[in-house]
């Protein structure tokens, strides 16, 4: 048996629906149709009355979720694409994220954002919004890179008493596979050493973990041992694991698929620079997408985002610094 990243997301939702009567799913086309990506396939049939189609009203979708959370429910909201969460932005950042702090009433909602670039998706079906949400207080932002994490972190997301922005990468949906679903997982907030190495640390998350791993393979053939840290969640962000890795390697490259200004890579470097300054043998570097919308044509898209090749090039330069 083998299970994809997307199936893991479906399974996690099935699991959550089965285990907890407070869980329900609400989103466009999530019902009988099973969602634009089929992440809720058959769930409406398996859990009648608990997987519900919404109108095309992202703002009201999140508002409704918050209301149900106040009543003790644990809604999972599927945005059809992460990009459309910009329409729900106000309800996410001002309603959901402030509720607990203002009123002491928890807001356990999970907002699933199918995000990130795929070939031919263009400027409005490819965006990486994790940094936007992480900047706001009151939100947890998860960015699973593996099938196992997609599953276990989504279960955690539903179990957590706070609003979770669950960034699931569309590029990983179909071709990332695992043998089976995990029964254990690292706690949320803990990064994972995806590959060990002693010459350079690459800190990254989500789809870029795989580009970094491929780059590490490439560099291994040149004799360099690259360590890859998968952040798993970007808020909370596991500074300790990053710093410990940098202490071992002395070199830091941060890789993100999001735009270059601010964001995860800047945050990681700012933390490392503040906390483990003496440990660095070379200036910490970043590799991000280019500072334009995500292009449609595959050639442009491949150059817009970091790839194994560009990651390897940046790593090589940094190792030789």
């Amino acid at each position: 048996m083998s299970i994809t990243y997307l199936e893991a997301i479906r399974e996690a939702q099935a699991h959550a629906l089965r285990d907890d009567p407070r869980v329900f799913i609400y989103g466009q086309d999530v019902g009988a149709f099973g969602g634009a990506f089929k992440a809720t396939k058959n769930l409406q049939k398996e859990f009648p009355g608990r997987v519900l189609d919404s109108p095309i009203s992202e703002d009201a979708m999140i508002g409704l979720a918050v209301g149900t959370a106040i009543e003790g429910m644990r809604p999972i909201i599927e945005m059809q694409f992460a990009d459309f969460s910009t329409v729900a932005f106000n309800q996410i950042v001002n309603q959901a994220s402030t509720l607990f702090w203002r009123t002491n009433v928890p807001c356990p909602i999970t907002v699933r954002l199918p995000f990130g670039g795929t070939s031919g998706s263009g400027p409005f079906h490819s965006q990486c919004l994790e940094a936007i949400y992480a900047h706001y207080p009151g939100l947890v932002v998860m960015t699973p890179a593996t099938v196992e994490d997609a599953y276990s972190m989504l279960l955690s997301a539903v179990a957590i008493d706070d609003p979770v922005i669950f960034c699931e990468h569309k590029f990983l949906y179909y071709h990332l596979k695992a043998e089976k679903l995990p029964s254990e997982a690292l706690p949320i907030g803990k990064a994972r050493i995806a590959r060990e190495g002693r010459d350079l640390t690459i800190v990254t998350y989500s789809a870029m973990v795989h580009e970094a791993l491929a780059a590490a393979d490439e560099l291994a053939t040149e004799g360099w041992q690259v360590e890859v840290v998968d952040l798993r969640s970007i808020k909370p962000l596991d500074t300790d694991t990053v710093v410990a890795s940098v202490a071992r390697t002395g070199r830091l490259l941060c890789v993100g698929e999001a735009w270059p200004w601010g964001g995860v890579t800047a945050e990681v470097i700012a933390r490392v620079a503040a906390e483990s300054y003496g440990l660095l043998d070379a200036p910490p570097q970043r590799l991000n997408a280019k500072d334009t919308p995500v292009p449609y044509h595959p050639n442009l898209w491949a150059a817009h985002r970091p790839t194994a090749r560009s990651v390897a090039a940046a790593a090589r330069k940094l190792i030789r610094f």
């Binding site: 109108p55 508002g63 209301g67 001002n94 706070d162």
Partner: protein
């Protein structure tokens, strides 16, 4: 008509109760205005002057188990829904003991776990939250409840208003959406806000029922809001209530409202609902000036006591404050920055 019952109260009892909430709200608002002028309140003070009848009618039509999402001009409805005066005062003064603990202030207060929602500022945003509560209760099999959400006419221009009213209609939720058309959104007249002849005309386009009323007339408010709430409770889906009235104050206490025209003030719409109610109660021999005076002084005493108490209470202490927006302790980022 005096013998019709609304809930367990007779109409007369309801009217008398409503009047007293209106009066207390008016006096409470005036106290906040005075504290603001005295520099005792930071930020803004927003009054419901002229809208007390409508607001009280909403609060009084609801049961404790219902849901209420008031807006900035709903001191009366809040009291009628059961908010203690001290909650309002503590919130305005930022007391650490208030429901918002000094974190949020003035009209941004509530107790969500009691179905009483603390507004965020973004207009229209509370309606879908009410929908959510109604939706959840239906999922849990709780029936016979109603959710009331208040808006000004200006807020009908928001996308949030539209999405949430449509959502309620699609889900046939027992939502009562009350629009107080007080002719202005801050300084903006209705002519720059919408072009329909009557806001109640919007109802057909959503497939919901509509009710129009004269917001200066407390009997009309009680009757019409009461029946809208009853229709929602009986399962007839969302109800859109549109009240005509005039804001008898500035947008906030910083605003002298010079843009409100004398013609408007002198029109029937410019009547003070509190005065109208008093006249009506007197005319119908339900109360007399002496009684009004007693109620007034009782209310003033209550308000003064609450203010005195809140003023003695501790301000929130930044050193004791848990500077975290998450409920999950273990997910807080501990690093101070």
């Amino acid at each position: 008509m005096l013998h019709t019952v609304s809930g367990s109260r007779t109409v007369v009892e309801t009217q008398l109760a409503a009047y007293r909430y209106m009066l207390r709200a008016r006096l409470l608002d005036e106290k906040f205005a005075a504290l603001y002028r005295a520099g005792k309140i930071h930020g803004g003070v927003f009054l419901g002057r002229g809208q007390e009848a409508l607001s009280a009618a909403i609060g009084i039509s609801l049961k404790k188990s219902d849901v209420f999402a008031p807006l900035i001009r709903d001191a009366a409805g809040r009291l009628a829904f059961g908010e203690p005066i001290i909650d309002a005062v503590r919130t305005y003064l930022g007391s650490a003991l208030g429901p918002m603990r000094g974190r949020d202030g003035n009209v941004h207060r509530g107790r969500p776990q009691e179905g009483y929602l603390p507004m965020i500022s973004h207009l229209g945003a509370m309606v879908s939250v009410v929908n959510g509560i109604l939706f959840a209760r239906r999922m849990k099999g709780i029936t016979g409840i109603v959710g009331a959400a208040c808006l000004g006419e200006g807020a009908t221009s928001t996308g949030a208003f539209h999405e949430s009213l449509n959502q309620a209609a699609v889900e046939k939720l027992p939502l009562v959406l009350i629009v107080a058309n007080n002719q202005f959104a801050y300084s903006t007249p209705t002519s720059s806000q919408f072009a329909c002849a009557d806001l109640a005309n919007k109802a057909t386009g959503y497939g919901v029922e509509a009710h129009a009323l004269d917001g200066t007339d407390f009997s009309d408010c009680l009757e019409t809001v009461g029946s809208a709430v009853a229709r929602a409770r009986a399962g007839h889906g969302p109800q859109l209530v549109v009240a005509s009235l005039l804001r008898l104050c500035g947008h906030g206490e910083h605003d002298d409202a010079g843009y409100i025209l004398p013609e408007q003030k002198n029109s029937p719409m410019g009547r003070d609902c509190l005065k109208v109610a008093e006249d009506w109660l007197q005319k119908n021999k339900l109360a007399d000036p002496a009684q009004f005076a007693v109620w007034r002084s009782e209310a003033i005493r209550e308000i003064e006591e609450a203010v005195a108490q809140a003023q003695r209470e501790p301000a929130p202490d930044p050193y004791e404050e848990k500077w975290s927006a998450l409920s999950s302790e273990h997910l807080n980022e501990l690093r101070e920055s």
